[in-house]
């Protein structure tokens, strides 16, 4: 019975993993980059790199808020929304933003104006999706409609969870082989690599996969809640997560109070130590205008926003986020926070990124191992060709696409219409190039050529960055702009990894077929 159970789990692990591994690789890869979503967005906007970027909070908060209100009331007096974002560790610049209603579109267009060190309007950054592309790709898969894409991601995540649990069951020597890596031994080495990347980061893999399902749990399994609230999803959310309901604009103009006069009350309610992350003003100039202060929650393990909402006309306190949630809401919030890691500082965030890449390594080594095992058994056929082709497409295509995304970000003209879409097209062009190559050949020559191309382009990126923008890797290091400097260093590390991989190709990659003359000789 035990043997049969082991074999059934082995079968489950193989097929649950193999069926979705390439989509999972994309999800894990994009998710890992999403840990640095804001930093990637900053890197993608070089106009902000000089004279705008600052990690220090405003010296005079009241004066900054006053200036922002004057600016926005002149620039966008009829906008439905104003937003003042203060410099933070991850978004180190002051910006004033406003939205614009566009006829025929459900969502308003968002404009953002960064402010330089002297309090003047800085050059508007180029139009780019930046890190938000990888963030949305991680669960929306970009080109697919949102709902089917999220269901597909959910199914893949469930398969991942099954593969993880069955993997733990079939790993008979999980403790004995904990530290063992036997290099240069064919499929044994790949199994060791697969095991190490899986077991070392197992707490991360389990948590990130399970909490990934939790993030969209109300979409995947809404029925329990809906049966209690009689099919009214809004009533369910209102009761579970009570939030301030923004009143609709009345259409009657009313003078707004000076927002900075509310700051002492915010400090009184939150304490002097509290940092304000941003201030949002809704329906400015209307009698129903409101001002909401969002608190920087720092390293608190929460995904909820802590908010104070005042009337922008008479300063009445309309809403204050509750200090305590119910146990169920608190658990849900903690699980969400563990997935998004918005609370993480630089060290924990970097560890999350490394563990995400370990997840990619686990998935990639699993795919390669499957192909290697089949080839060792000399089972040629369509299945093996398909797996080898998809391995090349996704394992090399993802880094190549990412490098092309950033190259497009730097090289496309700034005024080009549809620029963000072209950057995204460059990302998918990298994957498509690998897929096209895989239809022709999938052997080590194809891997070496594409890895070489990825490495060269990655090495060129810091150089192109230095030539096309005011800052470079050395000036960023000199001025302590670590996120920008580390981005360039990561491209150099990618080039080194490609060079290493080119010379130490995995055994899962087939060698090119020798000409018939050599075979017979």
């Amino acid at each position: 019975m035990k043997d049969s159970f082991y074999r059934s789990m082995n079968w489950l692990h193989t097929w649950a993993g193999l069926l979705v591994c390439w989509v999972l690789l994309l999800i894990f890869f994009a998710g890992s980059l999403s840990f640095f979503r804001h930093e990637i967005s900053l890197y993608a906007k070089p106009e902000l790199h000089a004279n705008v970027i600052t990690s220090a909070p405003p010296a005079d908060l009241a004066a900054t808020v006053q200036h922002a209100q004057q600016f926005l009331s002149t620039k966008a007096p009829h906008a439905p929304d104003w937003l003042i974002e203060f410099p933070s560790a991850r978004q180190p610049y002051l910006s004033y933003s406003w939205s614009e209603k566009i006829d025929g579109q459900r969502r308003p267009k968002f404009h953002s104006q960064p402010i330089d060190h002297n309090g003047n309007e800085a050059e508007r950054p180029r139009d780019t999706l930046g890190g938000n592309f990888f963030y949305r790709l991680h669960f929306d898969l970009h080109y697919l409609p949102v709902q089917p894409a999220r269901y597909l991601v959910g199914i893949c995540t469930m398969f991942m969870l099954i593969a993880l649990i069955s993997g733990i069951i079939i790993h008979k020597r999980i403790f004995k082989d904990f530290f063992s890596f036997r290099g240069g031994k064919g499929s044994r080495s790949w199994l060791d690599a697969h095991n190490i990347s899986a077991v070392f980061a197992l707490p991360f893999h389990l948590v990130i996969t399970y909490t990934g399902l939790i993030t969209l749990m109300f979409m995947y399994m809404p029925w329990a809640g809906l049966s209690i609230w009689k099919g009214d999803a809004d009533a369910m959310f209102d009761e579970m997560l009570p939030r301030f309901t923004q009143p609709s604009p009345s259409g009657q103009a009313a003078p707004m109070l000076d927002v900075h006069t509310l700051l002492p009350r915010v400090q009184q309610l939150w304490g002097d130590e509290a940092q304000i992350h941003d201030i949002r003003i809704r329906n400015p100039g209307d009698s129903q205008a409101t001002v909401s202060f969002n608190r920087d929650t720092g390293q608190q393990i929460t995904d909820e926003t802590t908010q104070l909402v005042f009337s922008a006309v008479d300063g009445t306190l309309l809403y204050q986020s509750p200090d305590n949630h119910s146990a169920a809401v608190a658990v849900h919030d903690t699980l969400m926070a563990l997935h998004t890691a918005r609370f993480a500082g630089p060290a924990l965030r970097s560890l999350g990124f490394v563990m995400g890449l370990l997840g990619c390594a686990m998935i990639a080594s699993g795919c390669l191992l499957w192909a290697l095992r089949l080839r060792e058994k000399r089972r040629q056929g369509f299945g093996l060709s398909l797996v080898e082709g998809l391995n090349l497409t996704m394992i090399v295509g993802l880094p190549l696409g990412t490098v092309l995304f950033f190259l497009a970000n730097r090289l496309l003209p700034e005024a080009l219409a549809g620029r963000p879409n072209l950057e995204v097209a460059a990302f998918f062009a990298g994957i498509a190039l690998c897929a096209l190559t895989a239809t022709v050949r999938r052997d080590s020559r194809a891997w070496r050529a594409l890895l070489g191309l990825t490495g060269l382009l990655a090495l060129a990126l810091p150089l192109i960055n230095a030539l096309s923008t005011p800052a470079n890797i050395f000036s960023n290091l000199q001025h302590g702009q670590w996120s920008l400097a580390i981005a360039d260093l990561l491209f150099i590390a990618t080039a080194a990894a490609c060079w290493f991989a080119r010379h130490h190709l995995p055994k899962g990659v087939p060698e090119p077929r020798k000409p018939l003359r050599e075979q017979t000789a």
Partner: protein, 108 residues
């Protein structure tokens, strides 16, 4: 500083847990450990892992425990690297608790 302190505690724990295995002990010392020594190393490693968890909570609360568990990965990787390249350094890593405790007052 607290990150470094917690990393050293994890490194020491994993080095001890690696040394409690006969093969790794032999790579480090050139001979197999007695069963009693292997058991002592194992329980010392597990105890140190728990001490690290207490230190993590003491230093940074809930955030600390998440950071600590994440630090296990580079610590375990360091042990694998040491085993592959220079296993004789593993006993040195096993006493990483000493610098960790020395750094603790600066991390508080």
């Amino acid at each position: 500083m607290s990150t470094l302190c917690l990393f050293l505690l994890s490194l020491g724990s994993f080095a001890l847990l690696a040394l409690c295995q006969f093969g790794h002990y032999r790579s480090a010392f050139g001979r197999a450990p007695s069963e009693q020594r292997a058991a002592t190393l194992k329980y010392a490693g597990l105890l140190q892992l728990c001490i690290g968890a207490v230190a993590a909570i003491y230093l940074q609360g809930g955030y600390g425990i998440i950071l600590y568990i994440c630090l296990w990965i580079p610590a375990a990787f360091t042990v694998v690297m040491l085993l592959g390249k220079s296993a004789r350094l593993l006993p040195t890593a096993a006493v990483a608790i000493v610098p960790a405790l020395a750094l603790l007052p600066f991390a508080v």
